[in-house]
Symmetry: D3
Subunit: 236 residues, 6 copies
């Protein structure tokens, strides 16, 4: 697995998820945007980090009692302490947000530990406290019920689905206020570079449009526009 360079990690923090979907589409990847989730704190910093996965299956009443959390060994609590700093905890809750997959205490612990963010296709509880953390938390719903009502944490660091998208451990998760894109680990560096370049172009286009220019020949650019942009880029 190629690891993401520090420069590209920073570059991805300035790239939109929209631009990333285009760059990934060029490589034949159409299903990269996690569906049905939103960012709790709209002012959180951008999220970039490797996926550390946690999988839930449906709860069973005799197994999923409050006692399940006691001692070590509960996969959710283990994942909270094991997810490395700089990575993103990604939870597969089968897109069922009728109960939580975590709350403010666990989120605070992840934040303190330097984890880059959390993405779950289930709910988060104590969400209005999490709203105030300067930290990116994505979930499918504000959902008070404890996870035991619906979810059973079962294992970590296996490939999962999250919001309809495949997530393999180590994939690069990028989040902006619109949502989260998953970049396969092996192409993360090239995608980051192309996206950074595309972002400069799109910022220039937006500027042109605000000055009154029409979109034909501009977006996408014809050869003349492409040349004009390249000239501008050299000069700046």
């Amino acid at each position: 697995m190629t690891s993401l360079s520090a420069a590209n990690r920073e570059a991805l923090k300035k790239t939109s998820t929209a631009t990333l979907t285009t760059v990934l589409f060029k490589r034949g990847l159409r299903n990269v945007f996690i569906q049905g989730i939103f960012l709790l704190n709209g002012n959180a910093p951008r999220m970039v980090g490797e996926a550390y996965t946690l999988r839930y299956i449906p709860a069973r009443e005799d197994l999923d009692t409050l006692g399940a959390f006691e001692g070590r060994g509960h996969p959710q609590r283990e994942a909270i302490e094991a997810c490395p700093s700089g990575q993103v905890l990604v939870m597969d809750a089968r897109r069922d947000a009728s109960a939580a997959t975590g709350g403010d205490i666990l989120m605070a612990r992840l934040h303190v530990r330097g984890v880059a963010g959390i993405v779950t296709d289930g709910g988060l509880r104590d969400s209005y406290t999490i709203d105030k953390m300067p930290w990116p938390a994505y979930c499918a719903s504000r959902s008070a019920p404890l996870n035991l009502v619906r979810h059973h944490a079962v294992d970590s660091q296996l490939p999962i689905g999250c919001g309809g998208v495949p997530v393999y451990p180590g994939d690069i998760m990028v989040g902006d206020p619109e949502g989260v894109v998953v970049i396969p680990a092996k192409i993360a560096n090239e995608v980051a570079e192309e996206a950074a370049s595309q972002t400069i172009f799109e910022d220039w286009v937006e500027d042109q449009v605000k000055k009154g220019r029409g979109i034909f020949g501009l977006y996408p650019p014809n050869p003349e526009t492409r040349a004009e942009f390249e000239a501008w880029k050299k000069k700046r």
Copy 2:
């Protein structure tokens, strides 16, 4: 029916719906959080009050005309004037939010009358006016169409379903910015007391976590942590 003490009513205003779901789970109640609704005014005061129920069935074109509202006797208008001060008006709209179950004029009347809040699994109209009321209104959608398009108010103070949860008249409705929990009337006092106690513990835990402590042995607490907390609680 045991009535909720004044002290416990105040205590519940400081308790989160998340904590309440845990306390109710210990008593075998798993389905207590109303699904699919949200709070219109995020800065509204906390909501605590007895459920006063109103039931809608699907509208029928020959019965649900504008004339239906005239005079006394329309169940929705009756409920607006009948719901006692301090209680919560809870509406069963069959989780259909494609039309409203009330608007700003009716909400203003409820507010003036001292009703503690409204919860509907249908829509509310004039929602951006209601957003500005210092009063908790929970609904499933901002929905402009008048109720007659879809809903027929039929009766009051019967047991209903709201957002998938059973609500009996007199049950205690507790709302925070995350949503609304329903506490069966007969256990409301004991639940309030346990939740208040649990809240003190969880606040202490969150403080510990922010100071860098790990969650194993802390949350849930092992005997040493439990002792440490009890000592802290005595001292404060």
Copy 3:
């Protein structure tokens, strides 16, 4: 087609979508509020304008490549440049918001061109940039994926469905922070006038309610209330 008078266009900017649904209900129209969309920028000005329609069908991999946008002739890009100033671009995306139907560059172009707003039952991308535009954009989801992943723009200015509501080119689209109502072109003037009148009455009612008056006989008004209101209206 009767065209909307300038006075009525202004009047509709002060009318709520809730009131409009009532006025249209009196004319037998029950399905006029576009379902499942929301306003990105809650502080945008009110939206009033004729519908200019664009239709999408599902994408097909061999047709919907990045090359499709090149040159003139792509229906989405054509519509962005063709929708007249003062009109509203309305998109039928089959209520599928898993991909975008436009992004910030195209929205900026519409804004610069004087288009009155956009309504789509698909997604919009770069939504947090659009959030900051002083311009009404309604969509079903913040959705980063480019439209080619799911949508194929096929034609303009045909009757469409949008959020479950029929929209004919030239119908009057009215948007407030709650959502969007569609007024058939031929009755737009009379609806605007009746709604303006109804708004004055409802504002007066709300004022009465805030002063403590009950709703029986007031809303809807009995003959005495009606007379009282008419007297008040003359005096003001």
Copy 4:
């Protein structure tokens, strides 16, 4: 309430639900076909009878135990014994078919008692046994779980919603292999008569079409076709 004549009761057994929706549409009623249900035994006799209603709300674990069925007083068991012969038991299960609202023993009892059929927007269990009963049972799903898992029977003979349609006690329920239509009691006789007449016409039209005649001028008929049909009707 006008009661349905014996002749019209028989006539309705020969009328399709499709034709009935057209006759009711002429009277302004658009929402009369119960959505999301199907007939278990496709060879069951046609169903015609007055609605006898039963309402479920969501279950609550402390109330909905096996003991709830003991003795008299459980509303579901009461309804099974109380629904009059010739009437139809109609259940409002909030369109939740993840659990049953009855099984083969209760259906056998209804059948023995002469009840005309059952309609539920929840599930039925032991459905493959009910398949073999010469008796019309409509449900939303084959669903093994006992009702206590999800449903709490609460009261009878109130107006309800079933499959999105309003049902008032005494309304006439008509079922064919396509589904079930609800006819408001007060217009049942006139609807039955018009539908019988319309059925004769449509059978004649179908016969004409099978002989190769085109639909223009035939369906709907122009004056010449209407005259031709009337002449044919007199002669037969």
Copy 5:
């Protein structure tokens, strides 16, 4: 547009929709199977024919009255008479099956006219009569309500979506008891030929499996198996 050869038209009648999805997948087409529909008469002959499209938008009460069907000019009735013999009538009903898009009289007319079948993502009424026609009719639901309740036929022979799949006029529609696949017109002949060839192989594989052979090296075949199959094919 390459037209489908008579031989390939016959070949497609012996090909399964499952095999066709594989052949189309090899060409990069993943979304070719119409979702959410079923075949009414399970014993109907296989369906193969060019798509003749009809589009519905949501109904509007003032336009969609019974009078709409009178005279010529109603797009649904026009399409019934205009769809050429040997082609398939494909309807876009926005996947809304709460009302019908046709009934037994119209289906009988299509059958008499030699139309190859019908595919709609809305409902069909009089479905139990259509069940008995020796003719393939695919729909999303048995649905008694007349189309005017929900649907407005608007135009023909434009590209549409049906069950989430793009359908262009002239595309080849192939139906078996599992459902319907859409083959883009320009590749229909090559797809038919490859599918016929693949079918021979899969039938041979199934025979091998029934004789007890394992699937490794057989399905998909390794070089030895491929050679064995080719030898068998020559000999038969």
Copy 6:
């Protein structure tokens, strides 16, 4: 893990899934019936066997190509050959039935190998061929598209969710024409015994009801009825 006795395995073949949900409900298990699936061949023998699990995640275009099936090592193909005779292959397809999780060749192989049945919450392809196999196959839809379009088989014999229900390897899967119940392995013998006993009682009750007896005091039985039944049971 207690293994299921041969006698209890046979007994479960005569027990309905409805009865099993009641027996499991008495042990506090409410979520045991797999939702949203149906039996393809209604005349298949009853299914009883240990769960052998296979898990799918969403497909990714660069990984899920036709080449993926080649050689050994593809988890789906491995599972087809590895699932022991007498066990049931249970697939977690995230309740997404828009593509298949298997087809007739693989089902034939399972059947030949003596596997007791298949349960998937995704689709099955070639379903009308599987309909004719004397073997129980449960799926969520007849779905022609090959699995690669949507699903990526990832691992076997881990705990999974199927149709919303937790399934652990070795749990006992019981299927009748209504659907499938999951019995936790450790209580399978006691559940089988209680269910067999309950079945005798319910058959007797049904017989009593057919003779005209009312349900009060019979179902559930009062002490007199219980005694009467016990006497009958001894005599038979």
